[in-house]
């Protein structure tokens, strides 16, 4: 990314001494992709409850109507703590779909803990499919049904075609769609608009933004687990 900027800069200096007009000319060029405007999207965002992380995400929170991918070194690194504030927020909206669907979670979601955090259990659905294909199908159904505020999906494998279908279904339904995958998929391509990795840090869980459309990737300094 930075290399790209350098190239623009040197070209700018060589072409014209008047930098202001040069910049305007460059921005007017259709081939130049503008970072900030690309990020603005009409769908709402949900705060992560962590100002440091919100600041790094385009729009200031978790994007909806797209795919968010979380890559985990091991489960239990505070990945749910990142999303719980958003889940609670989206359940409290009166005028919108408010169901939360968890598909193929690695363990049993513990009801007292969720109630303690403020999740409304009456509108939480747990789905346990027998295979990854069925999990993806269930996620697609839940997303495109339009009754879900958030769909959380845990997967082991990778299938680029399915991820694209998932993204399309999320765009259709307008829900927050979070996909949890093992960290080994970090260097594979993914259609997700936002990818983050959680790894064991020196003292605490380390949060890395792997891919942010309309934002700057890199590590984020924030406390992941509560």
């Amino acid at each position: 990314m930075s290399g790209y900027f350098v190239a623009v800069k040197t070209w700018m200096l060589r072409e014209s001494s008047d930098s202001a007009t040069a910049l305007a000319r460059i921005l007017a060029d259709a081939r130049v992709w503008k970072l900030k405007t690309a990020a603005v999207s009409s769908s709402p965002v949900w705060s992560t409850g962590r100002p440091a992380l919100d600041a790094r995400l385009p729009g200031g929170g978790w994007p909806t109507a797209t795919l968010v991918e979380v890559l985990l070194e091991t489960p239990g690194l505070g990945e749910l703590q990142l999303f719980l504030p958003a889940l609670i927020d989206c359940q409290q909206r009166a005028d919108a779909p408010s169901w939360i669907v968890w598909i193929a979670p690695p363990h049993e979601p513990y009801a007292p803990a969720l109630a303690q955090q403020g999740i409304e259990l009456a509108r939480l659905l747990v789905v346990r499919p027998a295979s990854a294909a069925e999990a993806l199908w269930a996620a697609e159904q839940a997303l495109s049904s339009g009754v879900c505020a958030a769909v959380l999906l845990w997967l082991q494998g990778s299938d680029d075609r399915w991820l694209r279908r998932l993204k399309l279904a999320a765009e259709e339904g307008g829900a927050l769609c979070v996909l949890f995958r093992p960290e080994r998929h970090r260097f594979e391509s993914s259609p997700a608009r936002l990818r983050l990795a959680l790894t064991k840090g020196e003292h605490e869980t380390q949060l890395d933004l792997v891919k942010v459309q309309g934002g700057r990737p890199g590590p984020v300094e924030c406390r992941v687990s509560g």
Binding site: E73, T74, P75, G76, L77, G78, E79, L80, Q81, L84, A96, P97, W99, P105, P106, H107, E108, P109, Y110, A111, P112, A113, L114, A115, Q116, Q117, L121, A122, R123, L124, L125, V126, V127, R128, P129, A130, E134, W137, A138, Q141, A142, S145, G146, V147, C148, G173, G174, K200, G201, E202, H203, E204, T205, S225, G226
Partner: protein, 466 residues
């Protein structure tokens, strides 16, 4: 039009008739108490039929079938277990000409079924029943002559408890007339208030509403194919009209179903049955079609299908919200949660889709439960916010950790951060726990919920604060 005509007719007749007319045309088959009931009591006329040879094992089913055939004489047919029917025929007398004709017509109906029956007509339910049980083939129209007719009957026709009948016999009471001569208070003391109430009902001193028999309807339609169908796709096409008919059937009755069954018939093999459950009561064509489609989609036909039959489960009244015409317009989605759950269940199985609720219980593993009845608005028992933190993931079984002392845990990279929280409960059901729970942190990363079994001093991992 009908109701207007009825109302005019009622306005012309006397007040008592007006009440009777209303009671007859009214929705509720049971006469309510009060003035209306008093008026009704005078106007009812009960026909009782006792079938002495009804096989005991199928009595209930057979009586239901007899009710269906009796319903062409009157709308109020009531079952008296174990072997009798009661028909309120007052309203039908005019239609059939006279009471004699009507009575004979109904008797002929049993004869046609080759079913021996003792029948009688009286102004009260028990009066008619007792007369019929005694084998008196009589028609009594007014309460005045009822007491006289009942007095002659033997006490066995009351079908009271044999012990009570024995008591009465030892007192020298053989006929109802003897019974009526006894003082009420003494009778109530010896036989209980129920017997006195029975006598009052039989003599029209007390009103006794009856529950009318309402036939249980189900949708059932068969369809035979000209050629055998071998693929599910054609089957899905062929089932569409059946679903359409089913939805129409339900719409006409303002009812819904929660279960459907599809039976596929083969040439040699036993029929294949596809059972479908719905998350909520519905009569919508689209939802029924969706769920059946999903089921059929995954069906592997064992043999070509020659015909099929669609059966509905028991019909249930639709709730007001399921009839909401604007339900689909609200929100952005096209489906409801029920539809989503049904579709998921149709493919993944009933048990694979569930909700969770809290249970007021100290033992962590017993403090939650899966629920398969999902209904928004249903709130499980509240979990106090002031309780110690609980992990989002609970392991199905606690995992034993190496070491018995906290320092040994530290060597394993685990630091106890919060605790202990002592949980000691469940001694009463054999699954007692005595544990000290701690929030522990792995040296680089995950936050765990661990406990030490107090007796064995061994450590377990029970949950993960994800």
């Amino acid at each position: 039009m009908k109701s207007v005509a009825r109302r005019t007719a009622a306005a012309q007749s006397a007040t008592a008739d007006l009440f009777a007319d209303r009671a007859r045309t009214g929705v509720g088959p049971c006469a309510s108490s009060g003035t209306q009931a008093a008026a009704v009591r005078r106007t009812r006329l009960w026909y009782a039929a006792v079938f002495p040879e009804l096989p005991e094992a199928q009595a209930a089913a057979m009586l239901r079938r007899l009710c269906l055939s009796a319903q062409r004489f009157t709308s109020l047919v009531s079952i008296e277990m174990p072997n009798a029917l009661l028909l309120d025929i007052k309203a039908s007398v005019k239609l059939f000409g006279s009471l004699e004709t009507l009575h004979a017509d109904i008797d002929a109906a049993w004869r046609r079924l080759a079913l021996p029956a003792y029948t009688a007509t009286a102004p009260t339910t028990l009066g008619a029943l007792w007369l019929a049980r005694a084998g008196k083939h009589v028609r009594i129209e007014d309460t005045g002559s009822l007491a006289g007719a009942l007095a002659e009957l033997p006490i066995t026709c009351t079908a009271w408890h044999p012990d009570h009948l024995q008591t009465l016999r030892s007192m020298g009471v053989i006929r109802i007339g003897d019974l009526l001569r006894l003082p009420r208070a003494g009778l109530a003391r010896r036989l209980g208030p129920a017997a006195v109430l029975d006598l009052d009902i039989a003599l029209a001193r007390q009103d006794a509403p009856r529950r009318a028999f309402v036939p249980r309807e189900r949708f059932r339609e068969r369809c035979d194919f000209e050629t055998e169908i071998e693929t599910v796709v054609y089957l899905q096409k062929a089932i569409e009209p059946l679903i359409e008919h089913c939805a129409q059937f339900l719409r006409e009755r303002q009812a819904g179903v929660q279960a459907l069954q599809l039976r596929l018939r083969h040439r040699v093999m036993v029929e294949t049955r596809v059972c479908v459950g719905l998350a909520s009561i519905t009569g919508e064509r689209r939802r029924l079609a969706d769920v059946l489609d999903e089921k059929l989609h995954r069906l592997e036909l064992p043999a070509p299908v020659r015909g099929m039959e669609l059966r509905s489960g028991a019909l249930q009244p639709l709730s007001a919200c399921s009839l909401d015409a604007f339900a689909g317009l609200r929100g952005t989605g096209r489906d409801t949660v029920d539809q989503l759950i049904e579709r998921l269940r149709a493919r993944l199985g009933e048990a694979a889709v569930y909700g969770v609720i809290c249970i007021a219980e100290h033992r962590p593993e017993a403090a939650w439960q899966r629920v398969h009845e999902l209904r928004s608005g249903e709130v499980g028992s509240a979990w106090g916010e002031d309780r110690a933190p609980r992990p989002v993931w609970l392991l199905a079984e606690p995992v034993m950790l190496a070491g018995a002392e906290p320092y040994e845990l530290r060597q394993g990279g685990l630091i106890l951060e919060e605790g202990p929280e002592r949980i000691e409960s469940g001694w009463w059901d054999g699954k007692g726990v005595t544990r000290d729970y701690y929030v522990a942190r792995q040296i680089r990363g995950a936050k765990w919920w661990v406990f030490q079994e107090r007796q064995t001093k061994s450590w377990y991992l029970h949950g993960v604060f994800a």
